[in-house]
């Protein structure tokens, strides 16, 4: 175990180049619906009890919400607070991207292929993004205030790397989740490790996995 642990530690350090001020480890979380089916597009976050600063490098990362084939990709994008998101248009047609979310209302009036727009998101919360002229296009930007976050893939699995072994709160957000603020969380005790599973209730039966609607 110790050998594996050491390797992971090296890997995380290499990836994020973060100072290993405390002992850190990867945290695997599996999100399923109540029927046991994996739930994609769920944002998993871990907020240590004593807080964790978001590294500047992380904020400066490249976060992109592409409009391609009359869809937003990805459907759900998680970004740390203070990050800037690019909205490149790769479709032949123009798009009018907007959001009325209280967190960060904005709109990019029509812009064409090859052009891009950017928007910095300073406050944590959910930003529902849509295209004014294409009703079927929708996406969500989840702005988080913790450095430990990830979005589940089609298998509903996510691994948070370099999570400190301290007490904190582990949260799952999903736009279709039938829960207050579409979010559930649980407290993790210090030193608690090992995979976590969430079985969440998802509305509407079929998930708009590909951003339909």
């Amino acid at each position: 175990m110790k050998i594996v642990f050491a390797r992971l530690l090296v890997l995380v350090a290499c990836l994020f180049a973060a100072p290993a001020s405390t002992l850190a480890a990867d945290l695997t979380v599996v999100v399923t619906d109540t029927a046991g089916k994996p739930v994609p597009s769920a944002v998993v976050t871990f907020a240590p009890a004593n807080g964790a600063a978001i590294a500047a490098g992380l904020k400066a990362g490249a976060y992109t919400m592409t409009q391609k084939l009359m869809k937003f990709a990805p459907y759900v994008l998680a970004v740390p607070a203070g990050a800037t998101v690019n909205f490149p248009n790769q479709d032949r047609v123009n798009h009018h991207v907007y959001s009325f979310s209280k967190v960060q209302p904005f709109q990019f009036p029509l812009y064409g292929q090859g052009k891009t727009r950017t928007m910095k998101f300073d406050h944590p919360g959910t930003v529902a993004v849509a295209c004014n002229i294409h009703d079927s296009m929708s996406a969500y930007i989840r702005v988080v205030d913790t450095p430990y976050f990830a979005t589940t893939d089609m298998s509903g699995r996510v691994t948070l790397a370099g999570v400190p072994e301290a007490a904190g709160r582990l949260s799952v957000w999903q736009p279709m989740m039938d829960a207050p603020e579409h979010s559930v969380s649980r407290a993790l005790a210090s030193g608690k490790s090992g995979p976590q599973t969430f079985a969440i209730k998802v509305r509407g039966g079929a998930l708009p996995a590909s951003g339909a609607y």
């Binding site: 009018h96 009325f100 993004v129 849509a130 004014n132 009703d135 296009m137 929708s138």
Partner: protein, 790 residues
Amino acid sequence: MAFKRLSTKLAVMYGGLFSAALLVIAIACYMAVISYARVSVQKELQANAEVFKRIWTLNSEALQTNAGLLSRDFGFKQALATNDKATVESAFLNLQGRLNADAGVILGADGQPVAGDQSALSQTVTSALAGRDAWQPVSGIVAVDSRPWQVVAAPVMAPDRLGWVVFASRLDESEMRGMETLSAIPIRAAVMTQTRGGLWQGPPEQTRDFKTDSLSFVIDQSLQTKAASMVDSAKGSLIAVATPLPSLDGRQTSVLLLTYPLGHALKAYQPLLTVLLGIGTLGLVLVVVASLYLSRSLVRPILALKDAAFNLKAGRSGQVRVDSHDEMADLAHAFNAMAISIEDRERDITRLAKTDVATDLPNRSAFEDYITAMRDRSGENGMVVIAIGIERFAHIRAVWGVAYAHTLVSRLQAILASIFDRAYISRLSADTLGLTLSPCAAEQALPLARAIQARLAKRIKVTDDQSLDVVVTLGVYHIGTSRPTADEMIERSLIALDQARASKSSIVLFDPRIYSELADNLLLTDQLYAALQQKQMEVWYQPKFCYRAGRITAVEALVRWQHPERGFVSPQRFVRIAEETGCIRDLTLQVLQTCLADQSRLKALGIELDISINYSGRLLSDEQFNARTLAMCDDAVGGICLEITETAVIEDPTIGLAAINTFVSHGLEISIDDFGTGLSSLSYLKQIPAHELKIDRAFIMEIESGQRDALLVRSSIDLAHGLGMKVTAEGVETAAAFGLLQAMGCDMAQGYGIAKPMSFEKLVPFIEDFSRKGITAAMPSLVAPQKAAS
């Protein structure tokens, strides 16, 4: 059910059966028509319901499209998202004006109204949509205070749901009327909503004709069976179909209720029903008429037979007319044959019953019938019935033979019939003809009888070579106004005939007095029995004076009957009846007992008297009774004398004399009573060992005036003395007779001159008085003339 008449029964049964069948057919037809009408109306209603729903769908789609347009409008979304109420409201009003929708409301992300309608409708819609997690527009029916609305709601997505755009149309009366005009038939439409209690309610103006609970039941039933139901309303029966409508919230259900009056549905079938009713009525009439005719024709021969049978029973001709060739005709033929044979036999029987077979003359029964028939027609004059008795008929029959005797009767009838053509003559018995004439006055009855007798008294030619002298006796009975029965009338003429024969008269008119005396004798016989039972008979004594002793030495016991109602009854009458009926035994015994007792009592008083008792000749032949008499008389304290008439002995001399001899040997005295009146025979007088001869009063009464009587009495006294007998004279009433008898040597005198019969109570003082005073003092009237004579 009991019928008095067979024809009624048949008519009712046939008619009733056919009527019931017709009724069933009519009911089945009516039910089929109703069912068919209902099914066709149901199909029509269901089709209309689909049309209505389709129209509503189109309407709601139009609304939905517009609501959706608004909900997708970017500016609207922005205004709603930024809570720009004024912009939202203006946009909404703009669209509502364009859509001409009745009501509308914008709901915010929190589900609360932001703009538009603020009435109860928006609250209802708010609560209906609160539970709906829809991403797509929804539509349905919402009821507010039982008033239905058609509601469409489009979510505002950006891309999360920011709220709802809601438009609503009233499904009110005018909307329903508009729908109704689309239908080919005049249906009525109403939208009903189910309340929490399960009852269905609709707008009051559309449901006021119904009872809520029955309407709810019908709606439930129609929903369950997906078919039409019948519902009663204030405007008659309706055919109703309920079709479910979509609801906005998925809970509050609504239905479209389509109704159609049954009367309208049946109107198309009215001619058919009328024709059916007409055919049914006509059929019923025909059936009733046919039943009546059939039952009459079936029953008519039976009734004819019944009438004939009643006629036959009543003695009239009982023939049935036969005009068919069925079994009834066979029966009628058989009945006719039977009736004829019965009539024949009855005629024979009647003839035999009413005819004297030997002479072929009407018999007594026929005579009665004739009298009965004539009796009431005789009028005031009355009618006469004469019984003609042929004397010596038995003798004629014995000598000349029965056939000859019958021929004689026939001849007599023929003679009478030839003279008296109005008279009816019958043979009452073998030797008696009856003749009646009506009318016939009372004074003509006897002349008629004399005429008959005069004609028949001639020599009658019986056969060609033989003639006969006939003697007839006639009993005549005439009735005036009284109306005895025929039988009584004949009987009275026969009684008159008997009276005539008894009195040797040739013609006697019926005497009602004698008739009633004969009838009275029967009554008297009964009373005599009763009197003997109750010992009503008294014994009185008539004293006998002895010339030699110069005093009363004996008495004759005489029975006296004082009947409570009749009074004094003559001994002659009741003694004869007693002899005829056998009561004489009891009578004699009672007298004997009384006499023996009285004799003892007299002796106790110092008076010794011999007692004479009348002893009936009929008793002499009764040896048992004689023995009893002897036994009783053995105890007598004095002399007992039995008075017997000569004739008694003559009837059966052997036994009579033997009995007398026995009495004498036992010390009883025998007296020959009523000497001189019967067929006195000296030979018997010689044989009877009598002690005394009693000369009948008839001789004594005439002794003073008649020379011959005095001679006979003297001779009789001498004869008696010669034969060793004493002589007692009866009926001594005068002093002359008393004296003459004494002069003639008579031993004793008895009669009113001495003393009348008296009761025992009077006898004692009489004897005592007589013995004290002597004959001269006691009987001065008897003794005085004697003195004068001497």
